[in-house]
């Protein structure tokens, strides 16, 4: 019972935060010098034309009115029109979002098993040579910016070896081989940082459990090492590991911005870069909210995992 209440509380806090985020980014966007009307009509427009457009766009309304109009639009799925293309923002994002989600899903599918293996192995063989080697490796991997990984992997796999295409063109037919070929480089780039981050957090979570007295007790009971790990350590580490996985996946949100741009991939993240370059505020705001929502969902999963991991809470 208490668990349900706690999770509800977290959900409430997440929604509150999301609302505050919307307020913050809206206020920030309104601080842009010049407004949408003059921006859309260009410098040669007459003041009358600008004023007319302002009226049409509702820009003469006070800030809070515009905020609530935007917020209710956002919640009902109509966050305005792009200032550049004139298309509804919802429609633009609608065609792009599935592509980004597919990329993210593919990355998660590859990175989670790899990272968990690295993390658990290095925790079990703590302070051994393999652990220290993996530590230096992951430590270095998290320190390299995604654009370098992307650039260097293009250099190696597309330019030198000529195995893979440098740009990602989504194949028309969805056969696994062509998908694998098309997605190999962007997924590899995204995995690079995410795997390292996830492996480090997993190692910490498992190592934390290995320090608990009940593990020493299990060893002193004469249990085999696989049994100590599978029966005693992992069930206790599941919550912390899920927590680590969810938090590390949030690194994807930054990574896709670079990766989609480098590989010219038509997702939401490259959209956001275009929106910044063209100062297309309605589009930028909506994309930002998509990213923040994704982030909040991951953090919420992490929180819930941490709550469920506590046996005192979960079973009372």
């Amino acid at each position: 019972m208490r668990v349900g209440l706690l999770i509800l509380k977290r959900l409430g806090a997440a929604l509150l935060t999301l609302w505050l985020v919307s307020l913050l980014v809206f206020i920030l966007s309104s601080m842009l010098p010049g407004d949408a009307a003059s921006e859309m009509l260009g410098q040669s427009a007459t003041p009358e034309a600008v004023a007319a457009l302002r009226l049409k766009l509702g820009l003469d309304q006070p800030l809070y009115v515009r905020y609530f109009q935007w917020l209710f639009g956002l919640m009902s799925g109509h966050p305005g029109q792009s200032m550049i293309s004139g298309l509804p923002v919802a429609e633009i994002i609608g065609t792009r979002l599935p592509k980004s989600l597919f990329l993210a899903g593919l990355t998660a599918l590859v990175s989670v098993p790899v990272a968990l293996t690295i993390g658990i192995v290095s925790a079990i063989y703590r302070n051994s040579f393999i652990d220290r080697a993996l530590n230096v490796m992951t430590l270095s991997m998290v320190a390299v910016p995604e654009f370098l990984v992307a650039t260097l992997s293009v250099l190696v796999f597309a330019v030198s070896l000529r195995w893979l295409p440098a740009l990602t063109i989504i194949p028309d037919v969805a056969d696994p081989a062509s998908i694998a070929r098309a997605y190999a480089l962007p997924v590899m780039t995204l995995c690079f940082v995410v795997v390292a981050q996830m492996a480090r957090m997993t190692r910490a979570a498992v190592a934390d459990q290995l320090d608990q007295p009940y593990v020493e007790m299990a060893v002193l009971k004469g249990l085999t090492k696989p049994r100590v790990i599978l029966r005693h350590v992992l069930p206790n580490a599941t919550g912390p590991i899920v927590n680590a996985v969810a938090l590390s996946l949030s690194y994807l949100l930054g990574g896709v911005v670079i990766v989609e741009t480098v590989f010219n991939y038509p997702g939401v993240a490259s959209l956001i870069v275009d929106a910044v370059t063209s100062r297309d505020m309605p589009l930028l705001l909506a994309c930002t909210m998509v990213f923040c929502t994704a982030y909040m969902v991951l953090v919420l999963i992490a929180d819930v995992a941490a709550i469920l991991a506590n046996p005192r809470l979960a079973r009372s």
Binding site: Y214, E216, M217, L220, K221, G222, L223, H232, N236, P311
Partner: protein
């Protein structure tokens, strides 16, 4: 009798910086006959747990056995390969850990953990193992033995978990059981029950055991042989009675002395100054946490507390964890404003909160916390710690400041050169002295000591108690001495107050606490403190750490655990406070003759 265990010239080392081995155990030898219990006794850092674990061919990370031989039965433990070690552990040698609460896996049912070794090694079927476990639960006097195993560890009390862990160890009828400080984490009233259960199970099954402890009095009850360790070396070894009655080594003698604080001679307390107002007076005080809307407390920690201290006397406040004794110190110091009642200092009402008290009022009452590790800023030197109150209250600087700091160091028997040392680099005993000296720096009238010795080893703690007694004499101080240890309190204090669940169940002069009658809780507390003589465990009255549920407001709080309760009276009427002939007052329905009769009959 056959020798069951033989340890010869055991050496264990820690891998230090740069690969240099640091000796932890230097050449330890002993042997145990079949069916005997051998106690390894020593203070923290003596290596007693390390030796015990090495009997299972196990060392904690960072340690390794560098020499010697360990023979358990016909097996050479240190020569075993890893799968042979696994076969040894849990079956030939079993382990009972200090903290059962942490040593049970929190997400696995107790029964599954108890029978795990037996079932996974195909010693017997699950059904047979469960039946055997239930039998062991019964013989360890556990409640509801049939269903207890279905619970999770956090649903069972600490004392019960400790017995469950013993059941787990006994499952495979091991040739040797290791008890590693199994009762240290428990309250004394729980400890006595657990000890009894252990002793009965050990005797009944003729178990060979190693019992690791820092407490001589506990060991006296259960061991046949005693090995006294210090810094990884054997100081003395022999039969129990020989060690207890004719200890040879100086170190053993100092341990014995520390274990019997009452027996040491202390300077007599300073004379009370006659007609002066009491230094501290509290009437009808109530305190707790969380203010509800209507001004009542959400959690009442202390209820209806009265106390008076004359200048120059020492008042001891005793209670178990959760009795509210530390909260009382916080109220007096002004850290927690009381919900009702006032604190009077020399007849003058003190403002309830820190902020409202004047600097001089704050100066005259100083508090010393239990744990010097957290009570002293690790980033400061001893000199800085001691100088601050002098600067703050007296505005001292330069030469005068240095002089006064040196005086303080002299008071706590430390050289003046230690002023430049960082606090985090000092030993526990030294830190506690600095902690005390910081309070003395303010030249207070009253010092509140909150469990000042409970984090220390017994010999170090005894030295601190001696120092406090001397200082009181030298500086004419008044103490409030808070502790869970009734023997320490009886040794240091002139007056005693016993707290149970936030109520004051008994109060009076220390002298009067030497013999029955007592309040039933005080009686339980006193009879639960292990004594050095053998046979104490059998003679002591059965403990009664029963239900934790609190009775309705107003009724006696000790009711659920009381063995003398009068049905129809105690559970319907609040207990009255009445005076005994020797001046103590108790909160109990029973009158003096019936208490005396009940408490004298079994002793």
């Amino acid at each position: 009798m056959a020798v069951a265990v033989n340890v010869s010239h055991l050496k264990v080392a820690a891998r230090g910086e740069g690969g240099m081995p640091i000796p932890i155990i230097r050449d330890v030898s002993f042997s145990i006959k079949k069916g005997e219990v051998l106690a390894l006794i020593g203070e923290s850092g003596s290596g007693k747990s390390t030796i015990a674990l090495s009997l299972m061919g196990y060392t904690r990370p960072g340690l390794e056995v560098v020499g010697g031989r360990i023979q358990v039965g016909d097996q050479d433990v240190l020569a075993l390969k890893s799968d042979e070690l696994r076969a040894l552990r849990g079956k030939t040698v079993a382990y009972v850990a200090q903290s059962a609460a942490a040593s049970f896996n929190p997400v696995v049912r107790i029964m599954d953990q108890v029978i795990e070794t037996a079932v996974t090694t195909q010693m017997c079927t699950r059904a047979v193992a469960e039946a055997k476990a239930i039998g062991l639960f019964k013989s360890l006097a556990l409640p509801n033995p049939e269903t207890l195993g279905q619970r999770y560890p956090h649903e069972v009390s600490g004392g019960q978990l400790q017995r469950l862990m013993a059941a787990m160890a006994l499952m495979a009828d091991p040739a040797l059981v290791i008890f590693d400080e199994p009762t240290t984490a428990l309250d004394v009233t729980t400890q006595i029950e657990v000890l009894r259960a252990f002793k009965a199970a050990v005797k009944e099954r003729g178990v060979t055991a190693v019992y690791v402890s820092h407490d001589l009095a506990v060991v006296a009850q259960i061991a046949d042989q005693i090995v006294v360790l210090q810094h990884g070396e054997v100081r003395e070894a022999g039969q129990r009675d020989q060690i207890l009655h004719e200890p040879d080594a100086d170190y053993t003698q100092s341990l014995m002395q520390a274990a019997q604080p009452e027996k040491r001679v202390r300077p007599s307390p300073a004379k009370a100054l006659g007609t002066m107002a009491p230094i501290l007076q509290i009437k009808g005080m109530k305190a707790g946490y969380g203010k509800a809307r209507d001004g009542s407390l959400q959690k009442t920690v202390l209820d209806n507390i009265d106390l008076t201290i004359e200048p120059g006397r020492a008042l001891g406040i005793i209670g178990e964890s959760g009795s509210g004794k530390s909260t009382l110190a916080r109220v007096i110091a002004g850290m927690l404003p009381p919900a009702a009642g006032q604190v009077c200092f020399y007849g003058e009402v003190l403002p309830p909160s820190l902020r409202a008290r004047s600097r001089d009022q704050l100066r005259r009452i100083q508090i010393v916390f239990q744990n010097a590790d957290t009570a002293i800023n690790p980033a400061q030197t001893v000199g800085e710690v001691l100088a601050r109150p002098l600067q703050f209250y007296y505005g001292l600087k330069g030469q005068a400041l240095t002089k006064r700091v040196n005086e303080l160091l002299d008071l706590i028997r430390m050289p003046s050169s230690s002023a430049d040392r960082l606090c985090r680099k000092m030993s526990g005993g030294q830190k506690q002295r600095v902690n005390l000296a910081r309070a003395l720096a303010a030249k207070p009238d009253l010092i509140l000591c909150d469990e000042v010795t409970s984090a220390l080893d017994s010999v170090v703690a005894a030295a601190i108690l001696d120092l406090m007694a001397e200082l009181r004499h030298e500086l004419n101080l008044t103490y409030v001495f808070i502790s869970h240890d009734i023997s320490a309190v009886r040794a240091v204090c002139d007056d005693i107050m016993v707290l149970y669940a936030g109520t004051q169940v008994e109060a009076g002069q220390s002298q009067a606490f030497k013999s029955a009658p007592y309040h039933p809780y005080t009686d339980l507390l006193i009879s639960s403190v292990p004594q050095l003589r053998r046979g104490w465990l059998e003679e002591a009255r059965p403990g009664s750490s029963g239900a934790q549920a609190q009775p309705e407001d107003g009724l006696c709080r000790f009711l659920p655990r009381c063995s003398l309760k009068i049905p129809g009276l105690c559970d319907t009427m609040p207990a009255p406070r009445h005076a005994l002939t020797d001046g103590r007052n108790i909160l109990c329905h029973l009158d003096e003759p019936s208490l005396r009769a009940a408490q004298l009959e079994t002793v």
